[in-house]
């Protein structure tokens, strides 16, 4: 063995050992600070974890860009929605008077709120862009009640780490970590561009998460459930989208 190849062997060995130790340490730190997303396993797990951890370390409290009123899209695109169920049609016929948002799970005071109750609780508006994973986008004014205010009203327990939200649509459910759930721009929206939120855009109640892609802004929300773990919800991946092969964290 020549001296050069021995040196290479030692260098290579040291780099490998440092790499393994470094990865193990990174994994421990990521677990400890909750930087691993629910879909952080499998072959795409390292990439997803890096992305999610980087966003949470870099800009946990950053605000999504807001736009001047003049930039509101004249031709927003509402995207396809599944054909409404009979139950949804009954609600629609009744003008959504009986629509309720149930807040349950790990909360001190479970709630059942009408859209009117939400309006009375708090009203915020923001002019933000809906960005679809496909590539298209539009800007609208979204009017609603911050999830943060609703959760404070219900009194989430200290161990809560995720808020699961469920839609009337079949298989329509998703979840947010507390950084996004308590974020001031995360709204349960019931209004759009100075009017009621149209059904095509998610009315009567849509979750708006402007720091993530459009598919996180689930339409027809009926329930918020506070939980300390996503492991036992569905297949444990954090959302219906993730079970269908789309990343749980879509802030990229």
């Amino acid at each position: 063995m020549s001296p050069i190849s021995r040196r290479k062997l030692l260098t290579g060995g040291a780099v490998t050992v440092a790499g393994v130790v470094g990865l193990a340490a990174a994994d421990r730190i990521a677990r400890r600070y909750g930087l691993i997303p629910p879909d952080g396993g499998g072959i795409y797990g390292p990439g997803e974890t890096l992305t999610y951890a980087a966003q949470r370390v870099m800009g946990k409290h950053a605000l999504a860009r807001e736009f001047p009123r003049g930039m509101i899209s004249k031709m927003p695109f509402m995207n396809e929605v599944a054909p409404p169920s009979d139950e949804f049609k009954r609600h629609q016929a009744a003008g959504f008077a009986d629509w309720r948002l149930v807040v349950d799970g790990m909360v001190a005071r479970p709630l059942s709120l009408s859209v009117g109750d939400l309006r009375a609780l708090a009203t915020r508006s923001q002019i933000t862009e809906v960005v679809c994973e496909e590539g298209w986008s539009y800007i609208a004014e979204w009017i609603g009640t911050p999830v943060d205010v609703v959760l404070r009203e219900a009194g989430t327990l200290p161990q809560v780490r995720y808020i699961v939200y469920t839609a009337m649509e079949k298989d329509g459910w998703d979840s947010l970590d507390m950084a996004d759930a308590l974020h001031p721009q995360t709204l349960l929206t019931w209004g759009m561009n100075d009017g009621d939120l149209p059904v095509g855009f998610g009315g009567p109640l849509r979750m708006r998460v402007p720091r993530q892609l459009g598919y996180k802004s689930v339409k027809y929300v009926m329930r918020l459930t506070a939980t300390d773990s996503m492991k036992k919800v569905g297949r444990g991946l954090g959302s219906a989208a993730a079970e269908g092969g789309y990343a749980w964290y879509s802030g990229i």
Partner: protein, 254 residues
């Protein structure tokens, strides 16, 4: 140990690999990551093969241009009577994972490249090679690597190659990363400047597409030049370093 030393006591230049281990390892990792990015990027484009300029754009708005291919979404008017299968889920997962691999590999390569003098020695054109004449000679020389004396020229890049590699490393790769990051809603919240200076989200998407196209053009030219210069020889150099295998000077194997 001493006998071993004397057995390989040929000139030092011949023992120096054509490409350092760092260049070879980062090169092949980048190849894999780049191919994954191009394929998945193409898949994602299929779900909306329309491009816009400015902040917003959707099927209700006039596109800057359209790629006339079928789409994987029935909401996109393509003129074709059918919808392609949706491949966006895994494509997106893989796109961002490959992007991490490319960026981290690029960082290692970039830092080491400055540290070891790789950029200065191998890629920045030499002082006497920076004029138009040098570029002209390199072009007239025809095949890549043929400019100058073969004894030295075969083991270093000509001025055109150096300029192209520097452009890919320091202009196209940073640009494609920048325009890609400008499509991340989370990143845009943290650093809105990144997308705003590009003229908005849809401009960033269109630029990301064009810069990626330029990188694909580079890839095609790069492979063509390698094929012209002797495909397997160049491959061997980039895999093993090519020590003693392809060296013209000296008679090590003679």
């Amino acid at each position: 140990m001493l006998p071993a030393m004397s057995a390989v006591a040929s000139p030092v230049q011949q023992r120096t690999p054509r490409h350092s281990a760092l260049v070879r390892v980062t090169h092949w990792i980048t190849v894999v990551a780049f191919l994954a990015l191009v394929i998945t990027g193409g898949e994602i484009v299929i779900s909306h093969p329309r491009f816009y300029w400015g902040e917003t754009g959707n099927v209700n708005m006039k596109p800057l241009f359209t790629i006339h291919i079928p789409s994987s979404r029935d909401t996109v008017p393509t003129g074709y009577g059918y919808v392609m299968p949706d491949q966006n889920g895994w494509s997106r997962y893989l796109h961002f994972e490959a992007a991490w691999v490319a960026v981290l590999t690029g960082l290692v390569y970039g830092i080491a490249g400055f540290w070891t003098g790789h950029f200065r020695k191998d890629l920045v054109p030499a002082a006497g090679e920076r004029g138009w004449r040098a570029y002209w000679l390199a072009f007239r020389g025809g095949r890549a690597g043929d400019s100058g004396a073969r004894a030295d020229g075969a083991r270093s890049y000509n001025v055109v190659q150096r300029t192209v590699y520097l452009g890919v490393i320091f202009v196209l790769f940073p640009l494609v990363i920048w325009t890609g990051l400008a499509l991340s809603p989370g990143f845009n919240a943290a650093l809105p400047f990144f997308v705003d200076v590009l003229g908005g989200r849809q401009s960033a998407r269109t630029l990301h597409f064009f810069v990626s196209d330029l990188l694909v053009v580079f890839l095609v030219v790069h492979i063509t030049m390698i094929a012209l210069a002797g495909f397997w020889g160049r491959m061997r150099e980039m895999i093993t370093g090519g020590v003693g295998a392809d060296v013209v000077v000296g008679k090590e194997r003679g």
